[in-house]
């Protein structure tokens, strides 16, 4: 532990005042950060946050409703969906499978369940995905030394307009008596 705290100290050194300054990459790294995350089989996530009644998609997207690859303003359904996610370059079927509507697809064509939508996001946001796997971006709960569950990217980011939405803050603390702030 002694070594660790010494190193941590070095790392944190002189940063307190200047928050804009860069630290040098620590030399004591023992983790191979470049390594791709291990198997994702063991990732526990909550159920995808679908609106009520929308899943399975194939309730409507059956053979009688053929897919339509043409980018257009949707008239008959999903009018509430606004694409604000690199919209000029993107259309629904870049992410949603045309023929298996209950699934997403990667660039390779590989199908992915909604419970693994992070694989889709990870294709374009590899850095965030790596941090998420490590428990640094996003959030995990459970045991710090054992079983954990992850929030999906889409628990925090709407896949169609992913900017994090502002929240109403909880009340401020009471001001101390006589305080003038």
């Amino acid at each position: 532990m002694r070594t660790l705290s010494a190193l941590v100290l070095t790392l944190a050194g002189s940063l307190a005042a200047a928050c804009g300054s860069h630290t040098q990459a620590p030399r004591w790294s023992s983790i191979d950060s470049g390594a791709a995350p291990a198997s994702t089989q063991d990732i526990e996530v909550p159920p995808p946050p679908f609106s009520e009644g929308v899943f399975p998609c194939t309730d409507c997207h059956d053979p009688e409703l053929p897919f339509n690859p043409k980018p257009r303003k949707l008239q008959m359904a999903h009018q509430d969906i606004v694409l604000q996610h690199d919209a000029e370059h993107r259309w629904c079927l870049d992410c949603h499978s045309a023929t298996e509507r209950d699934k997403l697809h990667l660039a390779s064509g590989e199908l992915v369940d909604f419970t693994e939508s992070y694989k889709l996001c990870g294709q374009c946001h590899g850095d965030k995905y790596r941090d998420w796997r490590a428990g640094v971006h996003g959030r995990r709960s459970g045991m710090w030394d054992g079983h954990k569950s992850y929030l999906l990217c889409v628990n925090c980011h709407n896949a169609h307009s992913p900017a994090f939405k502002p929240l109403q803050p909880k009340p401020p603390p009471p001001r101390p008596h006589g305080g003038d702030q």
Partner: protein
């Protein structure tokens, strides 16, 4: 920042205002009834606190905070750390009984010790925090803080993006329809669990110390309420119970730890313990699990595969007031 917590810039040490009352205490010292026979335990407890208060030269706290009725402590109880297994069991059984009766539910008081292979560390991503204060209230709930008057262990400071980190001009009282407010960033503070804790050094009675896993704890039954630690802490992280804490039974969290979230009394100091009652069981602190932006990270610094080590190794990390050499276990980082 508030009046009595604005000592953020005073240098560590116990020379500050709160403890400078040696002059007045001399006369009072003579009034202290020094008994050596057994008397009513309530009086004894109060007496011990009073006596030690004055010995410590902190009579000011006495007159304001005062000495509450503490039914379980007695004059001869050793400090928690020195209790043998049997004595400890009996103290705990007494507390559990007292709390269970008071709150009308089965309250447990754990004494689970630190695990040998564990060094706790915390990291907060200030590029994500939006200042929503969910953590503040999750902490109050988990840790049985007083609801009236409100005691908050976490304080979220709003700062100007232009100005950068500047405690002098930080605002803890911001309110808005939504956060983040444009042009601002947020820096939540709480106990930094320093490896070189000025609070511990300032305590005249040894009522606060650092545990082997890194958590700085307080024995509320040994605390005399002199508030030396509060003026020594450069982070304003310690809070004093000026009155009897109020904690409605239905809101009381019955899973407690002796050194953590068990109910406190008037006249003692309290602060964040990294949720010792949860984290010693392997769970994440309450604030970590509630944070909607996922800015709060916690884990074992000794474990090379922990998220906390990943952060120290891969992110830009800093500590608050590094120049004071307090060596915090609480890191801030940029997750971007």
């Amino acid at each position: 920042m508030s009046q009595h917590e604005s000592n953020a810039h005073s240098s560590p040490g116990c020379g500050a205002h709160a403890c400078n009352c040696a002059g007045e205490s001399e006369a009072e010292l003579l009034e202290v009834p020094l008994t050596d026979g057994p008397i009513d335990p309530e009086i004894e407890a109060a007496t011990r606190r009073e006596f030690l208060c004055i010995v410590a030269g902190c009579a000011a706290a006495l007159t304001v905070g005062g000495c509450s009725e503490i039914t379980h402590t007695n004059f001869f109880q050793k400090r928690f750390r020195e209790l043998g297994p049997e004595e400890r069991a009996s103290v705990i059984a007494g507390l559990e009984k007292e709390y269970s009766e008071r709150f009308g539910k089965a309250v447990t008081v754990s004494t689970q010790p630190a695990r040998e292979d564990v060094q706790f560390g915390y990291a907060l991503d200030i590029s994500r925090c939006i200042g929503c204060r969910r953590c503040v209230y999750a902490c109050v709930k988990e840790n049985n803080q007083s609801r009236d008057p409100q005691v908050h262990w976490i304080r979220v400071l709003e700062m100007d993006k232009e100005a950068g980190i500047d405690f002098e001009h930080a605002n803890a009282y911001y309110d808005a329809e939504t956060v983040p407010r444009p042009g601002h960033f947020y820096l939540p503070t709480a106990c930094q669990q320093c490896d070189n804790p000025s609070c511990v050094k300032s305590c005249p009675v040894g009522a606060t110390w650092k545990e082997p896993d890194g958590i700085v704890v307080i024995d509320y039954d040994w605390c005399i309420g002199c508030r030396c630690c509060m003026s020594a802490c450069p982070y304003g992280a310690r809070h004093f119970n000026w009155t009897d804490p109020s904690l409605p039974s239905e809101e009381m969290n019955p899973e407690t730890h002796y050194l953590g979230n068990r109910p406190r009394m008037k006249g003692v100091v309290e602060k964040c313990t990294f949720c010792v009652q949860r984290t010693r069981q392997g769970r994440y602190p309450a604030c970590v699990e509630v944070c909607p932006v996922g800015a709060r990270k916690f884990g074992n610094l000794s474990d090379p595969n922990s998220e906390i080590r990943y952060i120290l190794e891969h992110k830009r990390v800093f500590v608050l007031k590094n120049e004071l050499n307090t060596r915090p276990r609480f890191f801030y980082f940029y997750g971007l």
